[in-house]
């Protein structure tokens, strides 16, 4: 292990052992996305009417609220993995990369939590 070229610095260290996990979770969430997005789009077509009352009535039922929460988790997780790869491809400076990935994590958890809380608020009848 030298400190010359970038390959020289990592040669002999072995794999990080995180690649397969990332790949598997990306595929797992992809399958969930296909199933749950199919449910969402079919629901949109069936719903027809997008007035506040109609959508709230539909989404506050357990059979709609639960898949919506699962969809939010699956979509945000999948997006998190995909954007991570893009960042790793184009942001080469280690410090900047750490900062951008941290910002991504905050946005994903913040956005996901807000979305799930909104569905829960509707389902538990706190609003509207």
């Amino acid at each position: 292990m030298g400190n010359g070229t970038s390959i020289g610095r990592v040669r002999g260290l072995g794999a990080a052992h995180h690649g397969a996990h990332h790949w598997l979770v990306q595929r797992t969430t992809a399958i969930a996305n296909v199933v749950l997005m199919a449910w969402l789009l079919v629901s949109f077509v069936m719903l027809g009417d997008f007035d506040h009352g109609s959508v709230v009535k539909w989404l506050s039922q357990p059979v709609a609220a639960v898949p919506m929460m699962l969809l939010v988790i699956s979509l945000f997780w999948h997006a998190r993995l995909g954007l991570q790869v893009v960042i790793e491809d184009y942001v080469h400076d280690a410090g900047t990369k750490f900062g951008v990935i941290s910002a991504l994590n905050l946005a994903i958890f913040g956005g996901g939590a807000f979305a799930i809380f909104s569905v829960a608020a509707l389902a538990f009848g706190g609003q509207a």
Partner: protein
């Protein structure tokens, strides 16, 4: 580091459907991750915040520009889904023969456009 030789990049290759489907997968995925999730969060947040907040969401997303965004997102979804399904087939080791690979590289985005049109036809006629 900057003086090291680089392999020939984008500009020297003749574009093929495989390159198009590959970059479309990333572009549509990134687009949905940024714009699509923002619209989803806004939609759910507006629903939970009450009729007034929802009306302003509907006012903007129901405008011509908003509809362009929604149709664009649905196209991005179907395109990403089709190229994603193509990846699942390639994950099991199938579809690497040149002709087959080329055929599905062309078919995936074309099927996605048909699915997008079909979805909006159902939405607008229902």
């Amino acid at each position: 580091m900057n003086q090291r030789p680089l392999s020939p990049h984008l500009q020297v290759w003749r574009w093929g459907p495989h390159m198009l489907v590959s970059i479309l997968h990333r572009a549509t995925g990134d687009g949905m991750a940024v714009v699509g999730l923002a619209v989803l969060v806004w939609w759910l947040g507006a629903l939970a915040s009450g009729a007034e907040a929802y009306a302003s969401f509907q006012g903007i997303m129901g405008s011509p520009l908003g509809m362009v965004v929604l149709v664009g997102l649905s196209w991005a979804f179907f395109t990403h889904m089709m190229s994603g399904l193509r990846h699942f087939v390639m994950d099991i080791g199938a579809g690497y023969e040149l002709k087959t690979n080329r055929m599905w590289s062309i078919a995936s985005p074309v099927i996605a456009v048909i699915l997008t049109a079909g979805f909006w036809a159902l939405m607008l006629t229902k």
